[in-house]
């Protein structure tokens, strides 16, 4: 830790780290210095002058260097010649700060008066009104009158779309540059900037499409006025009318903490609806940022085509029915199938749902035929052993530490992790990036390896070998191995880009072994805080699905079962050849995803869903489930942090929580009575049945503690409108390595998937069309288009140019794509983007349409 210095703020003595700014330091003792341009997460610029304070230093005798003392023995203070900006001055030992003197007050009055000369009288219609730093600081420090002529007020354009998601009101901007600095420093998307000077200065977008960044919504949170607003919330409601509900992002493995602002709305027929999604501070998870995906994707919860009643197939068509009929039918059919019944689940539902699901099969039907409908990446069993240790915080990684990212494009797959990894690299951590193609992380990498197609596993093996021998080989792999073994802390991320499930398993185990290699001091990189493995799961609760035992061979808590059931692939083939007759699909669409070819020879198919998906269309019974916004539950993020979310809106139609539906079916089959609440499923089921969760309950997960920087309180001007976390920081479960040594993994052999003449891999895009995101109109212009990326040389050979329509046949499906020759693909590899998932290196045929 950095050295502490002692300073005095308004007479209060405090110790702070060297390097802190006066504003941030004063905040620690609740002395608020008003700011506009300063933000605790951004570098200081000193642009607005709102933070002017008096700063004095103890005087020293020039000759002797001794402090000069007053008569009473206290040090004599040199207050300098004027006011200084508290946001740019760093603390120094013995520093005195005065924030309440008349000169300071007058300076504040002047700054406010000056800012208001260009600011419109818009508060009544401004989306920021009510949570606006300028409003609040004007009330607190403004003079109430102005020497300025009303007629010479600046009049600027009020309706400037900076792209489809963010709107700018030029009049309201106070030129603090928080937005542009956020985009430069934090998001690394410098797509907006200042144009012109003085009163004519304006924010312009430099990208096409406008404001092209996954983080744009965050600028509306930190903009100290209502200059930037989101297309989603514009004029939606006044902030004080909204009811905040704590929740967790339903997408992505990072588990971003969010607050849903809800309001009862006449437009929506009197329903309570989600008006906006805001970040909720959790410095351990997402700090105060969320991606636009998280911010704007919520519309599926309120979509008009949600299932509202159970459906049952009668005379070949699905007709509405009552719950009792539907549940009885399902219970009878499942019971008739007994241990041959199979269950497939998505990785979106809560831990409670997933636990109930496996219990229905394992206890109710004595069947282990359960799996995730779409398994992309293996290794839950590995992270359970050597996953990132509890108590870790990516924010603590920096100089001396190493972060490894293998086969993942974090920017698209887990943007919050991308942000945190990038920031750690900027703090001095060495970043090792191994991928088959360039990604957004490359530019921050200390060691960058673009391995040849199909050699991900071989490369990691090589790395492991080099680490184990540690012969100081001077080739690149040798150097990386040395850096990893010698690092203070190591966190390794692995993904599944261009890999098959079996390959990711090898990857996970090889990396696990790599982390276990001990350095000369006998330390390994597992089981210690800020060390360990992280799988870049495809969904918000893939981790929970592993933990809850949605696996044919692993019961809850990774206990192996004697007779493993069928895996998803075996279930799909069983559906086709008639060996699987009865199938229960929860929160997944295997037909729509091309995994299951219709209902095959199934005798009975029950689907539990939000929408009438392709799979639901061919089902015998469709059970309407509630979305995450309508109920409570827990998700476990990729760092194994179990987090709670709360009900925000009323249930749509007759829909019920997944766990409840399953327990009601179970009850009809002779299992226990359904629980009354999700918290009881957690307490009586999960905490009792999953050893890793035994020390948790809804209360312990909901614990909070004071977080720094202090964001979301009354003083919105300091950190922006991210919400304060009052509903839980979550609880991480301990990996096996934390409580004792774990054995090295036996790494199986795999044959890399064979590649054709021009190998093709599918790459992830944050806005890939899907069941949920498609229902968010605001994101539709930004949706990833089906694209084929080619290297110039390959494009020449195939005589394809940018913009050509091409047909790529992959696994028997033909995809209509538009070709792009733009440097995203390395030579000898084509990338397909914006299409649904396809595993491994694909043997694809590329033709011009």
């Amino acid at each position: 830790m950095s050295d502490l210095v002692t300073i005095f703020v308004d007479g209060i003595e405090l110790q702070v780290e060297q390097g802190a700014t006066v504003v941030d330091a004063s905040k620690r003792v609740d002395v608020d210095i008003p700011v506009f341009c300063h933000h605790p997460k951004l570098e200081p610029v000193g642009m607005c002058r709102m933070c002017l304070v008096e700063i004095g230093m103890p005087m020293r005798d020039r000759a002797t260097g001794e402090p000069v003392l007053e008569e009473d023995g206290s040090p004599q203070i040199n207050w300098g010649r004027g006011l200084q900006t508290g946001c740019t001055v760093r603390v120094a030992d013995g520093m005195r700060v005065r924030t309440t003197t008349d000169v300071v007050d007058e300076a504040r009055e002047n700054v406010i008066e000056f800012l208001l000369t260009s600011h419109p009288l818009d508060c009544p219609i401004c989306d920021k009104g009510g949570e606006c730093p300028l409003q609040n600081l004007t009330m607190a420090h403004g003079l109430g009158e102005s020497a300025f002529d009303f007629d010479s007020k600046m009049q600027n354009e009020k309706h400037v779309p900076l792209g489809e998601l963010i709107f700018l009101d030029r009049e309201r901007c106070i030129q603090c540059a928080r937005c542009t600095r956020f985009q430069d420093e934090i998001a690394d998307d410098p797509v907006i900037g200042f144009h012109n000077r003085g009163r004519a200065l304006e924010i312009v977008t430099l990208s096409d499409p406008g404001f092209d960044s996954y983080w744009s919504g965050n600028t509306t949170d930190i903009c100290p006025v209502g200059a930037l607003t989101t297309a989603d919330f514009r004029f939606g409601a006044r902030p004080w009318e909204l009811i905040p509900v704590a929740s967790i992002s339903p997408h992505g493995p990072e588990g971003a903490n969010i607050t849903m602002s809800t309001r009862q709305e006449a437009k929506s027929g009197g329903r309570v609806v989600i008006k906006r999604i805001m970040p909720r501070q959790n410095e351990l998870v997402n700090e105060i940022w969320i991606s636009d995906h998280t911010r704007f994707v919520h519309h599926f919860a309120d979509a008009a085509d949600r299932l509202t009643k159970p459906l049952i197939r009668k005379g070949g068509v699905l007709v509405e029915t009552d719950w009792d009929t539907a549940l009885t039918t399902v219970a009878e059919k499942l019971q008739a199938a007994g241990s041959s019944a199979a269950g497939l689940s998505g990785d979106r539902p809560s831990n409670e749902d997933l636990f109930a699901f496996q219990k229905l099969f394992r206890q109710g039907l004595k069947s282990h035929h359960i799996d995730l409908a779409a398994s992309r990446i293996a290794g839950g069993d590995v992270t359970a052993q050597v996953g990132i240790a509890s108590g870790s915080n990516l924010l603590d990684l920096g100089r001396g530490d190493v972060i490894v990212v293998v086969a993942s494009d974090l920017h698209e797959e887990a943007p919050i992790w991308w942000l945190r990894v990038k920031q750690a690299a900027e703090r001095g951590a060495q970043l090792v990036v191994l991928n088959v193609r360039p990604t957004r992380l490359d530019k921050f990498a200390t060691h960058l390896v673009h391995y040849p197609v199909g050699e991900a596993v071989a490369t990691v093996r090589q790395l492991l070998g080099a680490a184990q021998i540690s012969d100081g080989a001077s080739d690149q792999i040798g150097k990386i191995a040395e850096a990893i073994v010698g690092a203070t802390n190591v966190v390794a991320f692995y993904g599944y880009e261009g890999l098959t499930y079996a390959e990711t398993d090898v990857l996970a185990k090889s990396l696990a072994n790599l982390l276990q290699v001990k350095n000369s001091d006998g330390h390994s990189h597992v089981g210690r805080v800020n060390n360990g493995l992280i799988a870049v799961w495809p969904h918000n609760n893939t981790q929970g699905a592993w933990d809850m035992g949605i696996h044919p061979a692993l019961a809850p808590g990774y206990q192996s079962v004697d007779q493993p059931g069928r895996s998803a692939a075996e279930i799909y083939s069983g559906v086709q050849d008639g060996t699987v007759q009865t199938l229960f699909v929860m929160a997944a669409d295997p037909v729509g995803d091309g995994l299951m070819n219709g209902r095959g020879l199934l005798d009975f198919l029950v689907v539990q869903e939000l929408f009438l998906t392709e799979t639901a269309k061919v089902a015998d019974v469709v059970l309407p489930a509630q979305s995450w916004a309508e109920r409570d539950g827990t998700f476990t993020n990729g760092e194994r942090r179990v987090q709670r979310y709360y009900p925000a809106i009323q249930p749509v139609g007759e829909s019920r929580p997944d766990w409840q539906i399953i327990e009601q079916i179970g009850h009809k089959m002779g299992l226990d009575k359904p629980h009354f609440a999700a918290s009881l499923v957690f307490k009586k089921g999960i905490a009792a049945g999953v050893p890793q969760y035994s020390d948790m309950d809804y209360r312990s997960i909901a614990k909070v503690e004071k977080q720094y920087p202090d964001v979301g309180g009354e003083d919105l001007y300091y950190g922006g409108t991210s919400y304060e976390n009052k509903h839980g920081l979550g609880q991480q479960w301990t990996s096996a390595a934390e409580s004792g040594d774990v054995a090295m993994f036996t790494v199986p052999d795999v044959t890399p998937s064979a590649a054709g003449a021009l190998p093709v891999i599918r790459t992830a895009a944050l806005y890939t069309p899907g069941t949920l995101i498609n229902r968010s109109d605001v994101l539709s212009p930004r949706m990833a288009q089906p694209t084929l990326h080619l290297h110039a040389a390959d494009a020449d050979r195939l005589s394809i140019a940018t913009g050509d329509a091409v047909i790529v046949s992959v696994n028997g499906q033909s995809l209509q794509l538009s070709a792009h020759v733009n440097g995203a693909a390395p030579q000898g590899l084509a990338l397909i983007n914006g299409v649904s998932y396809a595993a491994g290196v694909l043997d694809a045929k590329i033709e011009t349409a």
Partner: protein, 169 residues
Amino acid sequence: MIDGIVELLRGMGITLSHLFKKPVTYQYPEEKRPVRYRFKGRHELKRYDNGLEKCIGCSLCAAACPADAIFVEASENTDAERFSPGERYASTYEINMLRCIFCGFCEDACPTEAIVLEDKYELSFYDRASAIYTKEMLIVPVPEGGQDTPQITEPGMFDRSIPDMENPK
């Protein structure tokens, strides 16, 4: 005894004299008494002379209302479909007259003088739902020479919600 009879007669005399005075009673509802200038009766939502609605859907009246009687929902104006000056208008505006205590705080809060408590006071209902006055019931008719809303307007003509202020004298 005599005293008592005198008092009795005096009382009856007063009663008798009133028989010949002009009565103060109004024969409500046939006959209505005009209200005072500052009377606070049922609200009206006002319009500008050109017919545009003064209300900009800011919800400040709802925030000020001590009885929580007002509900406002805003939407965005465009030049092709303009209800009020500026970018925001009230797409839903409701006052629950059963809740309203006719305090006039909403009037005070309104930045555009859109909501005004006028002289109508006949507010009785057979059920609770009909006590909720919607925007259509509250808004005044389009003044002569004005146009009904939504209007199609020139771009740049009405881009500010709040009427321009004058310098303090």
